[in-house]
């Protein structure tokens, strides 16, 4: 029964991929997740940190149901996705919105269609086709575009928008989807550092307003520590800590980024220092 209150419940999840260029039959595998167990309540705000290649994206794709684990159990809103298919599976997927690092929008469509694409799960194929010719539910699209500040770009072709505007269109797409949970994969990786905090605040604000669960993969540790009450550290496919930001020490961060090329000596201490200087926003 406990599983039902949990938005995401993962138990001992393993996932491996055949190595690029290698043959899976020869046993050249990369272990992306090595026994991940975690549970996230509905409405919670969580940041997942860790070096590149730690398995953050794989974990996110497990949760938005575009990857299946090799072994282990996953429950989403108390439902085991491996037991359902077709319409039921699509309904479960519709409950989670995802924002991608590369936005994954359709560049040749107008912004309005990219936003309305968040409605596809409630539309028939005929309505979907008709909407491409004459957009349906424009008022809804305009409302979410206004919330993220791209209302004036509604009729622009998406590839003519700036990177930041495209990201806002991608956020608007998840808003119109009206999902219970929001996942974001490195949303600030390609954003100007000065705007990173503004963007994360916007995501937190939008999810708080509708009591959405929000799980964000972040490379930027100070931003994660500033904005999220729960931090999960992922290293080489394993969770090495799951703590509130106050309890995270520089030693833990050094362990997390062990062997990572981008990690410069002593940087972890600076990160903690930054948090002391700028206490948790809001």
């Amino acid at each position: 029964m406990e599983k039902i209150q949990k938005a995401f419940n993962l138990a001992n999840v393993h996932k491996r991929f055949p190595m690029a260029g290698g043959r899976s039959s020869r046993g050249n595998w990369k272990n992306a997740l090595r026994g991940v167990t975690l549970s996230i309540r509905s409405g919670e705000s969580v940041a997942v940190i860790g070096p590149s290649g730690a398995g953050k994206t794989t974990l996110l794709r497990m949760m938005n149901l575009t990857l299946r684990p090799d072994s282990g159990e996953i429950y989403i809103d108390g439902i085991d996705p491996s037991k359902i298919s077709g319409k039921e599976l699509r309904r479960l997927r519709a409950g989670t919105g995802t924002i991608y690092q590369q936005h994954n929008l359709i560049p040749t469509l107008r912004a309005v269609h990219n936003i309305l694409a968040g409605r596809l799960s409630s539309w028939s194929i005929f309505r979907s086709l008709y909407s491409l010719l004459s957009p349906r539910e424009i008022n809804r699209a305009a409302e979410v575009a206004h919330q993220v500040g791209v209302l004036d770009k509604l009729w622009e072709r998406t590839d003519r928008l700036s990177g930041g505007e495209q990201q806002r269109v991608a956020i608007a797409r998840t808003l119109i989807q009206n999902s219970r949970h929001l996942l974001a994969d490195e949303p600030i990786a390609s954003v100007d550092p000065s705007r990173a905090d503004i963007l994360i605040s916007l995501l937190r604000k939008l999810s708080d307003k509708s009591q959405k669960t929000i799980i964000v993969n972040l490379h930027d540790v100070p931003v994660a520590l500033r904005h999220f009450p729960r931090i999960i550290g992922l290293h080489a496919g394993k969770i090495i800590f799951d703590l509130p930001p106050e309890e995270i020490t520089s030693d833990l961060l050094i362990r997390l980024y062990e062997g990572d090329q981008e990690m410069r000596a002593g940087e972890a201490h600076t990160w903690i220092g930054e948090i002391v200087k700028e206490p948790l926003a809001g």
Binding site: T66, R93, I106, S121, S128
Partner: protein, 285 residues
């Protein structure tokens, strides 16, 4: 001063596979010339040079009289119609088949990620439309439009209808295959993102793949229309009407001045369609 690390590593030896392929291609080219008894020197022999010159001179001057030019207007227009209607028919037949023949829509790939694992027999069942459409496209494509037109002349009689059907069927095979390849090569990340929101696979194709491939599809179709213009001329020789048929008649009547005029007209027509299609294609890409 020599840098110790600058000496190049030993070149890897040419593999047996590379050698076999190269030798095989060379042998195929040489034997092709040998078996067709093609000898370029024959063209340069004094007797044949003279004959060629006489034949070529026979075309001059082209018949540019108003009365003749006026009679070629209708056939010229007919050639354009053959190419245009043929290409339109090819889209009508080829596009739906290409949707069935795109492997990434039916068999495997990003659009299936996270979907339930299906049994071997189910997979086989889902793949049936794919194999049927591939078989149809391959058949349509491997028989050239000239042969199709000959068959349709028997069925539909002499005239443009046989030509339109000939171009339509043969080009549907080509368009269908190329369309499928274009869509297989499209970026699947946007489509997978839509599947993650709960969209069906056809919806993900409609929003994620088709708009992204649209310009390439259109550009290739225009190129085919341009090819259709040339094909339409050839089809005239088997009775499908247009400039080709007029050229055939004038040659049979030894009216070489008129043949020259008709060939010039055909050249202008092809050049015009070439210019139109390349202009439009530049706009689309």
């Amino acid at each position: 001063m020599n840098l110790p690390s600058a000496s190049p590593p030993t070149r890897p030896p040419i593999s047996a596979g590379q050698f076999t392929i190269t030798a095989g291609i060379a042998a195929a080219i040489v034997s092709a010339f040998k078996f067709t008894e093609f000898n370029p020197l024959l063209l340069a022999a004094p007797g044949s040079l003279k004959a060629m010159a006489e034949f070529a001179l026979g075309f001059f001057p082209p018949d540019l009289s108003f009365t003749f030019l006026a009679t070629t207007l209708k056939p010229a227009f007919e050639t354009i119609q053959l190419a245009t209607a043929g290409t339109a028919l090819a889209i009508l037949l080829g596009f739906p088949l290409s949707l069935m023949a795109t492997s990434t829509f039916h068999l495997h790939g990003s659009l299936f990620e996270g979907d339930p694992i299906v049994s071997k027999s189910q997979k086989f069942l889902f793949a049936t439309p794919y194999w049927i459409s591939r078989l149809m496209l391959n058949t349509m494509r491997s028989i050239p439009e000239l042969i199709w037109a000959l068959l349709f002349v028997r069925m539909a009689g002499l005239g443009p209808a046989a030509g339109i059907l000939g171009i339509g069927v043969a080009y549907a095979g080509i368009l269908g295959k190329v369309f499928a390849e274009i869509m297989e090569g499209a970026d699947t990340r946007p489509a997978l993102a839509l599947r993650a929101t709960g969209a069906t696979r056809p919806q993900a194709v409609l929003y994620g793949i088709l708009p992204a491939s649209f310009r390439t599809l259109l550009s290739y179709t225009l190129y085919r229309w341009e090819c259709g213009m040339r094909a339409a001329a050839i089809l005239g020789f088997v009775g499908a009407g247009g400039l080709g048929q007029q050229i055939e008649i004038s040659m049979r009547m030894f009216e070489h001045h008129r043949t020259a005029t008709l060939i010039i007209e055909l050249f202008l027509l092809v050049a015009l369609s070439d210019a139109i299609s390349s202009h439009l294609r530049k706009k689309f890409t």
